[in-house]
Symmetry: C2
Subunit: 205 residues, 2 copies
Amino acid sequence: MNAKKIPDIIIGRLPVYLRALQRMADMGLKTTSSQELGEHVGISAAQIRKDISQFGEFGKQGTGYSIEYLVNKLREILKVDRIWDVAVVGAGDMGHAVANYQGFMNRGFRVVAIFDSDKEKVGHLIGEFMVEDAETMIERIRGLGVRIAMLAVPAAAAQGVADQLVQAGVRAILNYAPISLNVPGNVKVQCIDPSIHLQRMTFYL
Amino acid sequence: MNAKKIPDIIIGRLPVYLRALQRMADMGLKTTSSQELGEHVGISAAQIRKDISQFGEFGKQGTGYSIEYLVNKLREILKVDRIWDVAVVGAGDMGHAVANYQGFMNRGFRVVAIFDSDKEKVGHLIGEFMVEDAETMIERIRGLGVRIAMLAVPAAAAQGVADQLVQAGVRAILNYAPISLNVPGNVKVQCIDPSIHLQRMTFYL
DNA sequence: TAGATTGTTAATCGATTAACAATC
DNA sequence: TAGATTGTTAATCGATTAACAATC
């Protein structure tokens, strides 16, 4: 269906290309080459050409790629040529930070609701959002048709909340809890655990 | 020096193993197998055995691995058998969240200082830390001997701050700014960009 | 046209898996 | 001992790179 089965590892690089290209566009640049883009993102020119060519012939020999055109193509491919509604679960410091995060703008996402199980927090404002009761979460996410959630609850609660999110129809979870989640095969998970990222660097110090 | 050159991809998985093993230890478990650990982290048993065996023979045929022993070995290998001081740059919502983050405990890190260039923020408390002036950052980081920093400043400022951090002796940067940083080869960078992580999932929706 | 750069092929390189002897 | 599981080898699989014809 989606072309002839693209490897995950290629999909994983496309957002990085897109971010660099959008930055170039913001700077007023019109075209770039695999060479130049590669220098920006730290990936070989050959690999960038190969990755992009999986999806079509978007470049021109001799001149390279039109930045605007390639941005549009990548946005289509990654399905961020639209705005996805995102739910945040957990209204602690991290939930607070992601709910207020300005960096989703022009990247395809917007936060539409935030939930917490702590009755003390329910009803309070976080930025422009009122914290909603986690007990109403499943119904509310179903009602809103939300497919993407960011999970910012304590590790001990994370698996239970993830199960509820799946039940509510969520198909992509950005997990800030420091734990490996177990989800059905049709649900995608990406993990952000600062300690894991730091531990990937200390080995080399 | 460090054994016979371990691939980055293996180093990247070790923190995930460590996190799962520490969790098992917290639950009071004493031993595990590559099979069981693999189910927890979603990696094949063969791969886990192969990864671990790069560093020594830590298991026992027939019984598997002592969790406590393996945790200690992984902590040594990753050099988190100590506490690393970490500096936070940027006292916005994200800097706030990482400075207060409780999840560094027992993972090898502690925040020791937070900096911002906004004079309005300097002197104010964030949790237990007083926000320090970014102008004093280089000297202060040198004085403290900090080797690790978390960068939570706007994209436009990130490269400049990264250059300063490198100049101050920092050798590992956890970058929360949505931009690819350019650093010398002896400096490690890991990126956390929620939009990138989300865009890695929307393709599959 | 001459120069530049793509898209693609083939060659290389590296990572994962399967299988099993060793052994607890 | 019998059963279980490691560490390791060889086979498979997949990803990256180099090279170049095509062509803008």
